[in-house]
């Protein structure tokens, strides 16, 4: 067993050089001098002059988006701020209200739940990855139909993140976001054009369509954002809906949200048995 660490002295030296120091590539607050973010003076250049969502995008990516684009992102947040506690993240908020946690705990834990492989924010990464890769393939000659045919399928339908919405068919949120984009005159980019072509294939062959993930992923890709940047911009996407669900149950009687009797849980485990005596 080693008592010697066989360490790399250069790493030790580089760590020593950083002890007690903060070296930031982003910004910081210097009392009396100002607050700086990505090269901007926050109080002089940003606060009151840029929208909150422009600052959200700046902090998430280092990029300053236009007011119009930031508003479109805000509309995306609005679309995901539904106060329905059947949605998994929102139900965490509702359950939190029932046990009287703080509103911040409830909201933060609901947001955490959207780091999910099946819904919420994390799949946006895969949505952007898909449409970016699909566009490369499309530009190399693959048609939308061939792209759909090339993906794995489940239950006889192609499995593509951003298409085929769970729980319901169709997605009213796309119309809401698209109308804002059209109002601002955002040009149709190649990612969105391909996404719509893919949707047409799905409609014709499977009676399925795009969901809000597919639409947002395509527009974000057209605006030059990477999969990670999109994930970072939308980290707290569902927060407001979770807060709403928390408050709904917080103000209702204790234990009254979807109360469960003992026999509402089906026990499928081992039958009652005695603890074995020590050998």
């Amino acid at each position: 067993m080693p008592e010697k660490t066989f360490s790399d002295q250069q790493i030790i030296d580089s760590l020593n050089a950083r002890r007690g120091k903060i070296i930031s590539k982003t910004g910081g607050w210097f009392p009396g001098k100002g607050v700086f973010s990505h090269g901007y003076s926050m109080m002089d250049d940003l606060v009151g002059k840029k929208s909150y969502f422009q600052i959200v995008i700046l902090n998430a990516t280092g990029k300053m988006a236009s007011a119009e684009f930031a508003h479109w992102v805000e509309v995306g947040y609005s679309c995901l701020s539904w106060p329905d506690p059947r949605i998994w993240c929102n139900q965490i908020g509702a359950l939190a209200g029932g046990v009287r946690t703080s509103a911040i705990a409830a909201t933060a834990m609901g947001v955490l739940a959207t780091d999910s492989r099946t819904y919420g924010v994390y799949p946006l990464k895969e949505g952007v990855q898909f449409i970016q890769a699909a566009l490369v393939n499309h530009q190399q000659g693959l048609s939308a139909e061939q792209i759909v045919a090339s993906v794995p399928s489940r239950g006889g339908k192609p499995l593509i993140v951003g298409y085929i919405r769970p729980i319901a068919k169709g997605d009213e949120r796309i119309r809401a976001m698209a109308s804002i984009a059209e109002g601002y005159g955002f040009p149709m980019g190649p990612h969105l054009a391909l996404a719509m072509a893919i949707e047409r294939v799905l409609q014709e062959k499977y009676d399925e369509g795009m969901n809000v993930n597919g639409y947002v992923s395509a527009v974000m890709a057209d605006h030059g954002f990477s999969p990670d940047e999109v994930y970072q911009i939308f980290t707290t996407l569902v927060a407001s809906g979770v807060t709403a669900c928390y408050l709904d149950t917080y103000h209702q009687p204790l234990d009254s949200f979807l109360p469960l009797r003992c026999d509402d849980i089906e026990y499928q485990g081992t039958a009652k048995r005695a603890v074995p005596t020590a050998e």
């Binding site: 067993m1 080693p2 008592e3 010697k4 660490t5 066989f6 360490s7 790399d8 002295q9 250069q10 790493i11 030790i12 760590l15 007690g20 120091k21 903060i22 930031s24 590539k25 910081g28 210097f30 009392p31 001098k33 700086f36 990505h38 090269g39 946690t101 703080s102 911040i104 705990a105 933060a108 729980i167 319901a168 068919k169 169709g170 997605d171 009213e172 796309i174 119309r175 698209a178 949707e199 409609q203 009676d207 399925e208 369509g209 795009m210 234990d255 109360p259 469960l260 009797r261 003992c262 026999d263 509402d264 849980i265 089906e266 026990y267 499928q268 485990g269 009652k272 048995r273 603890v275």
Partner: protein
């Protein structure tokens, strides 16, 4: 953009379960109130009976594995739990908990804050599942050969690595101590050979790797390994957070402006 009304919202009318089911726990209803349990059963064993007859580590194992452990199994599990009980005051999870404590954050939040950081992929539970899968797959290969191949290709070895530029001596000591126990299994023994083969390069066991080996040998699933690492480290994280909770914010360092550099 929507043709054929494909975006007209229609429920899929999927069939959901009418009741939630579990193999872990049975709460037996009382005679006069179906919401109040009069007895609880964990994988078949009455909770009051195991309270009286079994250790915490026994029941911890039972909860996740469905059966009570053998004496050898519970011995190595309990020693692992003690090895992991405190990531130490320098671990980012502990520092986050201490930040919460010194900042007078609601004490109820110290645990989730610390546990979230203890789920990271670097020095946390976030790598335990990958390390468990790696150790399971590797047991038929020669450890020295595998070590040489990884060093040659500079590919990461899940559960092993350099820690602050060198070998994590504590992790290696814990692994060696655990490997002496009768409950030590193939993954841990293979990992010991791996760490010896890597030693001269300043690479060795990392704590998540040690946990992965023991948990793998005990039959836990990789996904459980992530959460168990968080659970087992939580006591120390919380203890450090609470230790500073009554102190003024000046009791911990605050980097001076002169030591704050913005590089762009």
């Amino acid at each position: 953009m929507q043709e054929k009304n494909a975006n007209q919202v229609r429920s899929r009318n999927e069939i959901f379960a009418e009741r939630t089911s579990t193999k872990i726990y049975l709460e037996q209803a009382s005679d006069d109130n179906p919401y109040i349990a009069s007895a609880a059963v964990c994988h078949g064993y009455g909770v009051n009976e195991v309270m009286a007859k079994k250790s915490f580590a026994d029941v911890f194992y039972l909860l996740f594995r469905g059966e009570l452990p053998t004496p050898d199994e519970v011995q190595i599990l309990q020693q692992l739990m003690i090895a992991l009980i405190n990531p130490g005051p320098r671990h980012p999870a502990t520092r986050a908990a201490m930040n919460a404590g010194i900042g007078k954050t609601d004490p109820a939040h110290i645990l989730p804050i610390g546990a979230a950081l203890l789920g990271g992929e670097h020095q946390g539970g976030g790598i335990v599942d990958e390390a468990m899968r790696f150790l399971r797959k590797q047991q038929t290969t020669d450890a020295a050969t595998s070590a040489a191949a990884h060093l040659e290709s500079s590919t990461p070895i899940p559960g092993f690595g350099a820690y602050y530029g060198g070998i994590d001596i504590l992790a290696n000591k814990h692994a060696a101590q655990l490997a002496q126990l009768p409950g030590a299994g193939k993954a841990l023994q293979w990992g010991m050979q791996m760490s010896r083969a890597l030693e001269a390069q300043g690479v060795g066991w990392l704590m998540p790797g040690v946990a992965a080996a023991v948990l793998s040998d005990l039959g836990f699933q990789p996904r459980a390994g992530v959460c168990l690492y968080q659970l087992m480290g939580a006591p120390g994280v919380v203890a450090h957070g609470l230790e500073v909770a009554n102190k003024p914010i000046t009791a911990m360092p605050f980097v001076a402006d002169e030591q704050y550099f913005i590089e762009r």
